[in-house]
C-alpha cells in the first residue's frame, strides 16, 4: 500500500476551504493508500450544509468533534460523531480506531449522558 504523499502531508488540518484539493470526494475505493490524515464531511442537525475538515487519524473522536462543533457555533456540550444507523462513537477512540475513512459523512451529536 502506498503511503501518504508529500503533498498530502503539507495540507492543513481543520476546516477546509472549497479551494482545498481534497474538498471534493475523489471517489473510488476509500483510503486506497495509507493516510495519516482524513477528510470528514460533517453535518450538524441545525445547519443545512455540511462542513469539511481534515483531521490526523491519531486525533480522538472527541477532539475532532469539538473542533467541528465550534465551527458550527455549538458553545456547550460534549460533542461526538454519529455514522448513520450506528450508535454515537466513543469520544476516546482515535479516528483510526473508530474506523473512519476519508470523506465519510458523520453527524455531530451531543454525547452527554442521561440524568
Amino acid at each position: 500500500m502506498e503511503t501518504e504523499t508529500e503533498t498530502e502531508k503539507l495540507l492543513p488540518v481543520g476546516l477546509l476551504d472549497p479551494s482545498d484539493p481534497e474538498y471534493e470526494d475523489p471517489g473510488g475505493e476509500p483510503d486506497s493508500h495509507r493516510r495519516e490524515r482524513i477528510v470528514l464531511v460533517v453535518f450538524a442537525p441545525k445547519d443545512i450544509k455540511p462542513k469539511r475538515f481534515r483531521f490526523p487519524l491519531s486525533d480522538t473522536v472527541g477532539a475532532a468533534a469539538q473542533i467541528a462543533a465550534q465551527a458550527f457555533g455549538y458553545e456547550t456540550g460534549t460533542p461526538s460523531f454519529q455514522i448513520k444507523d450506528k450508535p454515537v462513537l466513543d469520544r476516546d477512540l482515535t479516528l483510526e480506531r473508530a474506523g473512519l475513512h476519508s470523506h465519510e459523512h458523520v453527524e455531530l451529536v451531543d454525547a452527554g449522558g442521561g440524568v
Binding site: G77, V88, V115
Partner: protein
C-alpha cells in the same frame, strides 16, 4: 400555556425546520409540522425491533421554554409506555417513562417531571445531561439514542 404569541413561535420553529428536513432525510425520519397547533410529529422505525416509532413535540412557548416531547401511538396522540422505546435518556416518573433531558419540558418538576432543580424558563443554561438547543439537534439526540436501544419499554 405561554405568553409567547403563536406567530413568534411559528417563525422560530419554521426557521429551524429548514435544517430539520435535511436531517430527517439523512436519517430516514419523516416529519410533519402542524403550524396551526404548533405541533411537530416525527416518525421512524426502531432499528432493532422494526416497530414504527412516533414522537410529538408540542412547541407552544418555544424558545422561552423547551418543547414537550412525547412518544405516542403512531397516527394518534395516545400515550403509554408501549409506545416508548428504551432509551438511556428515559426515567420513570410516576410510573410513566419520560425523556429526561433539559430540552424536554416534561422533564421539569413544574410540568410533572422529575427535575425540581431545573427551571424551564432557563433551560438553555442547564448543563446537566445532553445538550440540544434547537429542534433538529433534539431529533438528532433521540435518533442517536434510538440506535443503541434494545427495544420498547414494554
Amino acid at each position: 400555556m405561554s405568553a409567547l404569541p403563536p406567530d413568534a413561535v411559528r417563525a422560530v420553529v419554521e426557521k429551524e425546520l429548514d435544517a430539520a428536513w435535511g436531517w430527517a432525510a439523512r436519517h430516514d425520519w419523516t416529519l410533519q409540522w402542524d403550524s396551526e397547533h404548533l405541533m411537530l410529529r416525527g416518525a421512524t422505525y426502531h432499528p432493532r425491533v422494526k416497530q414504527l416509532i412516533e414522537v410529538t413535540a408540542d412547541a407552544d412557548g418555544y424558545r422561552a421554554v423547551p418543547p414537550a416531547w412525547r412518544f405516542v401511538r403512531p397516527g394518534s396522540d395516545d400515550l403509554g409506555p408501549e409506545w416508548f422505546p428504551q432509551l438511556t435518556l428515559n426515567v420513570m416518573c410516576d410510573g410513566s417513562p419520560v425523556l429526561c433531558a433539559p430540552w424536554n419540558r416534561l422533564a421539569y418538576r413544574e410540568n410533572g417531571g422529575p427535575h425540581e432543580n431545573w427551571s424551564g424558563g432557563s433551560w438553555l443554561q442547564v448543563t446537566e445531561g445532553t445538550v440540544a438547543h434547537t429542534i433538529p439537534d433534539m431529533l438528532g439526540l433521540i435518533d442517536a439514542h434510538l440506535q443503541s436501544s434494545g427495544g420498547m419499554v414494554v
